[in-house]
Amino acid sequence: MKISFPHMGYSYLALKWLVENTGHECIVPPEPSSRTLDLGVRHAPEFACIPFKILMGTYLEVAEKGAEVILTSGGMGPCRAGLYWVMHQYILDELNTGVKVIAFEPPLCDLKDFIKKLRWVRRTGGLSVKEFVQVLRITWEKIKAIDEVEILSHEIRPYETNRGETTRKLWQALEMLDKANNEAEIQDAMQEGLKLLRDVAQDRSRNPLKIGIIGEIYVVLEPAANHYIQIMLGEMGVQTDRSIYLTSYTRKNTIVNLEGDVFQIAKPYLGEAPIGGHGANSIGETILYARHGFDGVVQLAPFACIPEIVAKSIIPAVSKDYGIPVLTLFIDEQTGKAGVQTRLEAFVDLLEKRREVKAKRGIERLVI
């Protein structure tokens, strides 16, 4: 089978390995480009949000390259994204692409269906259960290693003395990880990649601002959809942490993980109302970032995304209670980054000024 999947940040490297080692051919999804967007916009319903349009474009691009099956995620709850794969399938059928979309629903929602679909992937690839479990394990290790080097790159970038060096080293590290085929090789590649990043020429006398990135999963995870916001902020001298990594749940070095249940934290502001998508997360994560001493938060929301709109209208209260400024960026078809740059620069000015004022007040207090 020729199998493809959505492009989400650098995860494609691990997913490619998964598909290939399950006995299938992988059609690697290209990084979303203006062509992806053109295709997506042309064939998607006008009122669909940007993740739908980018995915639509990606699916059509991989269909052109011969993909027969697309593996993606489903979803449940009030956000319409849970229905997206169905719509994508309709449109792919209408365009006679012959591509079949297989969506994995959350296992807790329909375990049988989840297992059935996994079994299909395994059997058509000709793997035994044992072999398949091993492949899944290595894939997971790979995803973890990819996240690990990316996280470090966002920590180091604001200190770099030559613009772009961190990003270039990150690409090198990812290339090495791409070539790793077992757990030992992944470990080696990761260690070497981390070292490459640590060796970037840095000015450690800087005291970078810290900004948390929250919002809807696709625009948070896919740099091509969010104007490479973490790189942009990093090069403006800001350290960023984003709320979502594919491996967030298992790690301790990200702010947002299972340790603190974001839903529980968001509860005082939401009550029992389920607002779907990552809306509740956005509220809880703003609180978490404030508690961890971050200077500010940037919320990324697809234009017309209902969960994020609801979150946006609640966030001013959170922002006031916890004293953390939040900037919301709505993301749509625009590819010009000047507008985003302007807002981010102004936001950074605001945060820097706040820090100055705070420091001054601190000194005054000491004097008194």
Binding site: F303, A338, T342, E345, D349, R354
Partner: protein, 320 residues
Amino acid sequence: MIKGYLGVDVGSVSTNLVVIDDQDQLLVEQYLRTNGKPIQTVQEGLHAIGQELPADVKIAGAATTGSARYLTSLIVGADIVKNEITAHAIASSALAEDVKTIIEIGGQDSKIIILRDGVVTDFAMNTVCAAGTGSFLDQQASRLLIPIEEFGNYALKAKNPVRIAGRCAVFAESDMVHKQQLGYNTEDIVAGLCEALVRNYMNNVGKGKEILAPVMFQGGVAANQGLVRAFNKYLGLEVIVPQHYGVMGAIGAAILARDASRKKGKTSFKGFNIQEINFKTSSFECKGCSNACEVVQFYENSELLARWGDRCGKWELHVV
């Protein structure tokens, strides 16, 4: 000799240039239409403002702001480049220390800036829609055959402003046409448009913001008395329109230029006579990797001054 500080604000619709002195006094100002040609407009504007400037004033610092701020900084020789949100806030708080809210509506963007004790604490800018900005009013004025300068006066004459949908520029336009076809008079429609614009602004950028007086209303659109009245009505207070409402961004830049050049001890300003210089840009697609970055090259005559647009930094170059 008097020291002057130049601020240049190049936006989508207008290019504003000002020179201020050490006491924040405006010495000269120029307001030009950008017409999609920022380089040429800046050259013309600089020449014009140089002619106008008293002979005993010497430029001791320069700064640029607005959406073409980086490009312009290369032409002008700026000591500092600043985003327009910060520039507007600086200009307003220099004028009135206690200002708590700034409403700024320009050609294609509208913003709200919240200040407390002279420090920006929050801001928002319209993101994906240009409804509620100057360009929209411009279009509707020409559709109604009213010179944009007269637009406000029409609104002031209205007795019963017509309700017009303001959420989206396209919907507003068709709604307005329907009301015209039903025979409502132009004054009431114009006033209705002003109210629609204010409603849209408040629902869009103003949402969730704590708007406290004094409120300053600036940007080119503040010339419109109809809008001033609509804002007063909506907010239930009197907005303040500063004397130089149209060039506040440039004034903010000039103030920043003063601070920056003092810190630097000199200025990079290239002088007013640059209209002879041929500035041009060219671009190419980098073939280095699959990102295919569009790299822009900026030339002064035949000399390559700067290059930007690449993500990896391979081509990046700043001679100045």
